[in-house]
């Protein structure tokens, strides 16, 4: 059967991992190439890198990081951050990205999704959707979530579920759903919105925002809780709290289907 994916995510600024990465044995905790190699060796199902640089020079550096990571890992690579137009996507795909995660640009121009899906295939286009829970209004029967852009700093007026359905209809291959309320809190994923969107759209949903423990990963992926197809996490892996292998062992014990971590092997085959 298809397994649920565990996706470590690295935030990259000016070519370096933000917050550092604290694995045993890494000589340079801020080097994204070393970090990705470590995740690949631990059996990460996919690797995600997000560019949080604001400058043009930083963007060029990021493309170079993508190129170097892609040349040394044999796992699917998803990249995002600052993608505005088709030319940005082309640059990243040529550097070796398998998928691009696009956030603000598809909100301001939803037609970009169909344009990119036609050119690169839906499997390469991930709609990154940042959501925030709205204050409850009298008469609401269920919570209301709004799509936000620019790192949560700007409202869009878009209702989250409707927007995800639309992104899927336009040809996005997956949704990377981040709860801005939970991001960085270590309180766990927002299970209600994750489950609701995962059940409503026909494409895979990646849960993101808030993981502080292995139990949070389990909740995000369990059918009656988050119901997500993949779980993305940053800090629990960055800070060496857990390895990918430990996360998978925990999930396996708790009934979530995961790919067994492969033993780290030398480069020699046969």
């Amino acid at each position: 059967m298809l397994k649920r994916r565990i996706i470590p995510c690295l935030d990259i600024k000016n070519g370096r991992v933000v917050k550092g990465v604290h694995f045993a044995g890494l000589t340079d905790s801020g080097d994204p190439i070393e970090a990705c190699r470590a995740y690949d060796g631990q059996g990460a199902d996919e690797i995600c890198m997000l560019d949080i640089t604001a400058t043009v020079e930083g963007r060029d550096t990021f493309v170079e990081v993508v190129r170097r990571v892609a040349s040394q890992t044999f796992a699917p690579l998803t990249v995002g951050g600052g993608i505005r137009r088709e030319a940005d996507v082309r640059r990243l795909m040529l550097a070796g990205a398998d998928k691009v995660a696009i956030n603000s640009a598809i909100v301001t121009n939803p037609g970009l999704i169909s344009q990119l899906a036609a050119k690169y295939g839906s499997q390469a286009i991930v709609a990154a959707v940042d959501v925030r829970r709205m204050p409850p209004r009298s008469g609401d029967t269920e919570p209301l979530y709004e799509v936000v852009i620019h790192g949560g700093s700007r409202s869009t007026g878009l209702e989250a579920i409707r927007w995800c359905e639309m992104a899927a209809e336009l040809g996005a291959g997956e949704i990377l759903l981040t709860s801005m309320d939970r991001d960085g809190t270590r309180d766990g994923y927002d299970l209600w919105i994750t489950r609701t969107i995962s059940r409503r759209v026909g494409i895979p949903v990646i849960a993101s925002g808030g993981v502080g423990s292995l139990e949070h990963l389990r909740e995000g992926l369990a059918d009656e809780e988050g119901s997500a197809d993949a779980a993305l996490a940053a800090s629990i892996f960055h800070f060496g709290l857990f390895t990918i292998g430990q996360a998978k062992a925990y999930l396996h014990e708790h009934g979530i289907p995961v790919r067994p971590p492969e033993p780290s092997r030398g480069i020699t085959l046969g």
Partner: protein, 204 residues
């Protein structure tokens, strides 16, 4: 083991990762879209992403498709990856129906909407994205596709994978012709081992 692999560039996606994986598995790579060079290949690998449709029709009916068939009919090893495997078959229902190369018998079909693993469980997503186990080898490989091969000759199918109620070919082999639905170049060690066994000419 062949020293040099010819990689077909039919503009069906980025070839770099396939090239790197083949090099890692122990061969060198020449990438080309020139039908004459394809036809002269001693070992051919044809990767593909995306969709059957406008771009593949041009290929099937054009010089590149003919060149691929020359290699296959001469008996030299051929490996088609993902869409490169699907193209070996008679036809695809993708984008309203399109012909394939007709090297192997069967059709390419879309996973049905609303399919579940067990009655009462949530509907499965399309595309089928992620790591699934392949039988009888029991290894996991990375898949990313909405269409699967419905092979007419069971003897062509050597490895299978299940998604929902559909059991579909993960690897097909007939003589010198190999195809895999998964992406070996994205399947870490399992993928490199698979490529290595193709290069060694064994049944993958």
């Amino acid at each position: 083991m062949p020293r040099e692999i010819t990689l077909v560039d039919a503009n069906l996606g980025n070839l770099d990762s396939v090239e790197r994986a083949i090099i890692q598995a122990g061969a060198s790579v020449v990438t080309t879209s020139d039908p004459d060079r394809v036809a002269a290949a001693r070992t051919l690998v044809f990767p593909g992403q995306g969709a059957f449709g406008a771009s593949t029709n041009g290929l099937v009916n054009g010089a590149l498709g003919a060149a691929i068939k020359v290699v296959i009919e001469r008996g030299d090893p051929y490996l088609g990856i993902c869409v490169g495997m699907q193209l070996l078959f008679d036809e695809s229902e993708e984008n309203g129906g399109n012909p394939g190369l007709g090297v192997l018998k069967g059709s390419v079909r879309r996973f049905p909407d609303g399919m579940t693993s067990f009655p009462g469980t949530r509907p499965l997503k399309i595309p089928h994205v992620g790591w699934n186990d392949v039988q009888p080898v029991g290894e996991h490989f990375y898949f990313s596709h909405s269409y699967y091969v419905d092979a007419a000759e069971p003897s062509d199918v050597t490895w299978t994978t299940r998604y929902g109620t559909i059991e579909f070919p993960a690897v097909v082999v007939r003589g010198n012709v190999y195809g895999c639905q998964f992406h070996p170049e994205k399947s870490q060690w399992a993928g490199l081992r698979f490529l290595r066994s193709f290069l060694l000419g064994g049944r993958a």
